[in-house]
Structures are given as structure tokens and as C-alpha cells.
């Protein structure tokens, strides 16, 4: 697979670098944009970012390994993040996460992100999503869901199947 950044995206990223007195500052914003476009951060994406920002690839790689939101391999098309932190746990987050795993056929007892073999779903526990009063809360890609129950989890999955 060849790595090619569309010129529009590149122009967008070039504009971003003007927001900072030092180009290096744009690294996280670059990685967000590249991950959004390619689905994950490949080593080519790291190298490309490094050369655009005048850095060594290691300077970019160390970000990808530090910040939990960046992924080094492709994840499912629908990324389901269930908050596991205290307020959501008290509201029943475990049951919700298990329901998601169960319904898409993932192992309830495994830790960390898991992706279904067909590449459709990734389910994982994440830390507090700053909506602790409406737990359990779940993010599916960029969409945010509150008060998620087992029934609601089913509806969310039905919505995913639709697109």
C-alpha cells in the first residue's frame, strides 16, 4: 500500500503549522488528521509527519506510543469506547461493555481493545469521558451516547449496521 496524502489534506495541514511559532507543536494535530484519514498511524505516516515538521521519525513515534488515542494498526469501522471510570462504573458500565462484546462476538474476559475479524467493530473500555452525570457513557467514533443500557447498546449497534 502506497502512502499518499491528498493535496487538500496536505494544504489543510500546512495551514495548521502557521498556528504555531514552532512547527513541532502541530504534531498532535497532524496525527489526528492522518488518523482520521487513514484510520491509523502507519510508520509511513510518522515519517511523513516528521519530514513535514522538520523532526526525526522517533519524535513522532514517541507521541504515537504515548497518547492513547493514536493507533498503530487499523481498528474496526465502528469504534465503541465505553467509559469504565468510577461514576460510569457505578451506573453499570461493565454490563454495557460486556453487552457490546457479547453482541458482536468478542471475548468478555480479554483486556484492551478488541476488533471483530470482519473489521467492523472495535470495543474497548476507556477512561472518564467527562460526562459522569449521565453514565454509562459510550462513544462510537465521534458520536456520543449517554445513559446507555443493554437495550440502548442494541439500538446503537443497529444504527452501526445501517451504515
Amino acid at each position: 500500500m502506497s502512502f499518499e496524502v491528498p493535496s487538500e489534506l496536505e494544504a489543510e495541514l500546512d495551514e495548521l503549522t502557521t498556528h504555531y511559532p514552532h512547527k513541532r507543536s502541530a504534531s498532535l494535530m497532524f496525527l489526528h488528521a492522518l488518523q482520521e484519514h487513514f484510520g491509523f498511524i502507519s510508520s509511513e505516516a510518522e515519517e511523513w509527519t516528521a519530514s513535514k515538521l522538520g523532526l526525526q521519525p522517533i519524535n513522532v513515534h514517541e507521541l504515537v506510543t504515548f497518547y492513547p488515542m493514536f493507533r498503530q494498526e487499523p481498528l474496526g469501522r465502528h469504534q465503541i469506547k465505553v467509559c469504565r471510570t468510577l461514576s460510569c462504573a457505578l451506573a453499570g458500565a461493565k454490563v454495557v461493555r460486556d453487552a457490546f462484546c457479547h453482541k458482536v462476538g468478542l471475548d468478555l474476559h480479554k483486556h484492551g481493545p478488541q476488533t471483530t475479524p470482519d473489521g467492523l467493530y472495535t470495543v474497548e473500555f476507556v477512561e472518564c469521558l467527562a460526562s459522569c452525570g449521565t453514565g454509562p457513557v459510550v462513544m462510537v467514533n465521534e458520536a456520543f451516547h449517554e445513559h446507555v443500557t443493554v437495550e440502548k447498546a442494541e439500538q446503537i449497534l443497529a444504527g452501526c449496521r445501517g451504515n
Binding site: 507543536s25 498532535l28 497518547y67
Partner: protein, 470 residues
């Protein structure tokens, strides 16, 4: 009767209120900015002139505003510590990382009323000679980042931002910078490193106080979203009037995030100190009490890193008697005014203003296990006591949650926590040690009983598995 006093959230939840600039302006938005930018230098009796910017800084001092991000440090003093003589540019960063578990107040502002934050930021930047500022927003708020970018564009188009703001010759740019899921980016020096495009490793203070050596080693102000919004209201109403809200040394309003075992979790804006912890949990205007048949067991009063309070706990407080003398009285947890100073006097803190309630069906062992797992996951790893200690504590609690604990684990946990606090680069060390110290000390019987029971069960099953120390 204790009730909400909505200043910052005055409009946010009103039907039809939208985050666009027209709506904001229909509700008086950007009038504070016009007012401040139109003010003229003031001449003091001794003939000395003070600039309108300095007047605003003085007004913020007078207002008594304390930071809403966690530490409760005086905003006016923070601004006065900025090194204005270095000749370097001064930066301002809005901390919109909102990452302390239990906290969900900044989200309300960012998503529903972004212009209020932007106006507060422009005013704060103007008052501090800042020409370039950033909003550091947590990565998990992708929609929030889009809303802010849209709002900044609108503000630029209307001449509130960019070059020559409102014809005054003042230039300012504000950009949105997204984090990527690391809690430690909420700590201000970690945040600065992250904004520089590095791992969010907090810097050691001294010498790296942001006011002197912050972003790009230049003087930098880091303020929380809610703090910056308050600045707008200080301009509108005047610092003295703002200081009349709330209680002495705990002025203004504050948005409390209430979650956990209450009937009506939510965010409630109150005058600081005008509602007690008990009122926030039980009063019909707020949490409306616990579910049927449940009793209060514990309260985490200021985000998950604050020390837990136990139901029935009493605190010695100084109060003015009817005769006007200072006397020491016993105050019940529920009667503590929810303000910075009372919570501190009770040995904990109001932190980010997030209250998490635990009822009597909850296990303190499991609750602490959940919190400790968070900290073990989020330690940046620079300091050995924090990196290793947070992991050991989480592992010991995990053992206790899964039948492999020991009675001695309670003391083991205390021992580790004691060896973290005060021995680390940043306050995350305390943030991970305090929950452990307070949970285990205040509920020691529960921890020991859990461990002892598990030991006994293993002994009767004839196995010694899981009894090793680590």
C-alpha cells in the same frame, strides 16, 4: 433555601439557545469586550496613570476569583506573577482538558456557549498583553473542537479577534489544539509540553513555573475554562460586585458536577459556599438524595483525586459565635459549606468541583480499585514512585477485588501511597496517593476484612496461591 445561581450557565440550557454568535450577541455577548476595550486610563490621586489593562487585572484581584481547574489558586495573583519584563511574548492557554474523573462542567460551556469562553479569553489576553493564545481541548471532545473552531471563525469575521480588534490596534489570535487521550495533559506543565508537540511529561517546578518559563520557555498563563468565563462576568459586573457573590475568600459562582449514587446527578451552578455538601446531595434543587432504602456511605468531594469523606465524619472548624468571638465547633460532613476553604479545613479539597456519592451498597475496596486503575493507567511514567507505586496499588486492589487479597494489603497500600506523595515531579503523585490513603485509613476494617476473608477461604481450600507480596 439553597438554590442554583446561574451566572456562567445563565443561558446555556434555555430553550432555543444556540452556540452561534448571533444568539450570543442577542443575549448581550461581546458587550463586556466592547466595554473593556473602550475604557480609558485612570488617573490616581498621586497623578500616576494606570492603563485599562492594568485596571482589569486589578479588578480580577479585587473579585477574589480562584481557579476552577483544581488548585483554587487566586487568578489575580497568578496573573500578577507573569514575567512582564522579559521582553518575550506572553502566552495564554485555556485548559479545556477536563480530565479529572467526575468532572463534566467545562463540557457544558464548550459545547453550548463557546463564545462566552472566547470573550473571557479575549479579555484575559488583552489584560495581559497576550497576542497568541490556545485552547487545549481534550481529544475525546471532537465535536467540541469543531464548535470552537466555528465560533472562533465567527468572532474573527466580526472583528472581535484577529488584527486590530474593534479598531483599537490590539491583535490577538486564538487557536484550538487537541489533546489525544492522556489525563496528564490536564496538569499545566504537561499540557505545555504537549502543546509543544512532545510527550506530556510535566516539568519540574522550580524552575519551570509557567508564569516565567512556560510555553516555548516564555511567560504563560494557564487557566481553566470556567475561570476564563468568570473574567467576562467580572468585567460586566465589576470585581467588587462579583466578590459579593459567594462567601468571603470563596467568591463568585461555581459549577458543581454531581454524580454517583444520587437520584438526580447533574451540574449545578451555585454561589460558592452558599450550599453545603449535604444540601448538594439531598436537597430537591440538587441531587435529591439517594435511591430508596439506601444510606450515604462516603463522598468524594472534589474529583477522584480528592480525599474521601466518610458519612458521619465530624470536623473541627473555626466559626464566629453569636457574640462575635471565634470558637471551634464540630461540623458534620453534610454541613460543610461547599467551598475551597471548608473542604481544605476538612483535610480534603473541592478540587475541580466534582462530587461523587457512594451509598451503603458500595464496596470501598472496589471503588478504590476502580480509581486506582485510572491512575495506574494515566501515570506519565517519569518518576519511579508514581509509575511503580500507582501500578502496585492498582494490582493489590485488583487482587482484593478478585479473591486473591490478604489482610496485610491494607497496610501495604498505605505504605506505597506514603512513599509516593511528596516525592514526585508533579501533583499527580498526590492525586494517586490521596484516594488510597483516605479510603484505606477511613475504611480500614472493610479492607482488612476483605483480605482476611480471602486468606481464610484460600486456607480452607488448602492452597497458598496468591499470598506472595507482589
Amino acid at each position: 433555601m439553597p438554590q442554583e445561581h446561574r451566572l456562567i450557565l445563565r443561558h446555556t440550557d434555555a430553550p432555543g439557545y444556540a452556540p452561534d454568535i448571533e444568539c450570543y450577541q442577542r443575549h448581550g455577548g461581546y458587550e463586556a469586550l466592547r466595554k473593556a476595550l473602550a475604557s480609558s486610563p485612570k488617573e490616581l490621586p498621586d497623578g500616576k496613570k494606570i492603563s485599562p489593562q492594568e485596571q482589569l487585572r486589578e479588578d480580577v484581584k479585587l473579585s477574589g476569583l480562584r481557579g476552577r481547574g483544581g488548585a483554587g489558586f487566586s487568578c489575580g495573583i497568578k496573573w500578577s506573577l507573569v514575567d512582564r519584563r522579559s521582553g518575550k511574548p506572553i502566552y495564554l492557554i485555556c485548559n479545556a482538558d477536563e480530565s479529572e474523573p467526575g468532572t463534566f462542567k467545562d463540557r457544558q460551556i464548550l459545547y453550548k456557549d463557546p463564545h462566552q469562553l472566547i470573550e473571557g479569553m479575549i479579555l484575559s489576553c488583552w489584560a495581559n498583553d497576550v497576542r497568541l493564545a490556545y485552547i487545549y481541548i481534550r481529544g475525546e471532545f471532537p465535536a467540541g473542537a469543531k464548535i470552537l473552531n466555528g465560533a472562533l471563525k465567527e468572532a474573527r469575521a466580526k472583528g472581535f479577534l484577529g488584527k486590530n480588534i474593534l479598531g483599537t490596534g490590539y491583535d490577538l489570535e486564538i487557536y484550538v489544539h487537541r489533546g489525544a487521550g492522556a489525563y496528564i495533559c490536564g496538569e499545566e506543565t504537561g499540557l505545555i509540553e504537549s502543546l509543544e508537540g512532545k510527550r506530556a511529561y510535566p516539568r519540574i517546578k522550580p524552575p519551570y513555573f509557567p508564569a516565567v518559563l512556560g510555553l516555548y520557555m516564555c511567560p504563560t498563563i494557564v487557566n481553566n475554562v470556567e475561570t476564563l468565563c468568570a473574567v467576562k462576568h467580572i468585567v460586566t459586573m465589576g470585581g467588587a460586585e462579583f466578590a459579593r457573590l459567594g462567601t468571603p475568600n470563596n467568591t463568585g459562582t461555581r459549577i458543581v458536577s454531581l454524580s454517583g449514587d444520587v437520584k438526580r446527578p447533574g451540574y449545578y451552578e451555585v454561589e460558592v459556599g452558599k450550599a453545603s455538601v449535604g444540601e448538594l446531595i439531598f436537597h430537591e434543587n440538587f441531587g435529591q438524595g439517594l435511591r430508596e432504602g439506601r444510606q450515604l456511605k462516603a463522598v468524594i468531594p472534589g474529583g477522584s483525586s480528592s480525599k474521601v469523606l466518610k458519612a458521619g465524619e465530624k470536623f473541627k472548624m473555626k466559626r464566629k459565635s453569636a457574640e462575635g468571638q471565634m470558637v471551634t465547633v464540630d461540623v458534620d460532613l453534610l454541613d460543610l459549606p461547599y467551598d475551597f476553604d471548608s473542604l481544605q479545613a476538612a483535610g480534603t479539597m473541592s478540587g475541580s468541583g466534582a462530587i461523587i456519592v457512594l451509598d451503603d451498597t458500595r464496596s470501598m475496596v472496589d471503588a478504590l480499585g476502580n480509581v486506582s486503575e485510572f491512575y495506574a493507567h494515566e501515570s506519565c511514567g517519569q518518576c519511579t514512585p508514581c509509575r511503580e507505586g500507582s501500578l502496585w496499588m492498582s494490582k493489590a486492589l485488583d487482587r482484593l477485588s478478585h479473591g486473591q487479597g490478604r489482610k496485610a494489603d491494607a497496610d501495604y497500600l498505605l505504605h506505597i501511597a506514603q512513599n509516593i506523595q511528596g516525592r514526585t515531579i508533579c501533583a499527580f503523585g498526590e492525586a494517586c496517593a490521596w484516594p488510597v490513603l483516605s479510603f484505606v485509613r477511613k475504611f480500614k476494617d472493610e479492607f482488612e476484612a476483605r483480605g482476611a476473608e480471602q486468606e481464610a477461604r484460600r486456607a480452607s481450600a488448602g492452597t497458598t496461591e496468591g499470598t506472595s507480596t507482589h
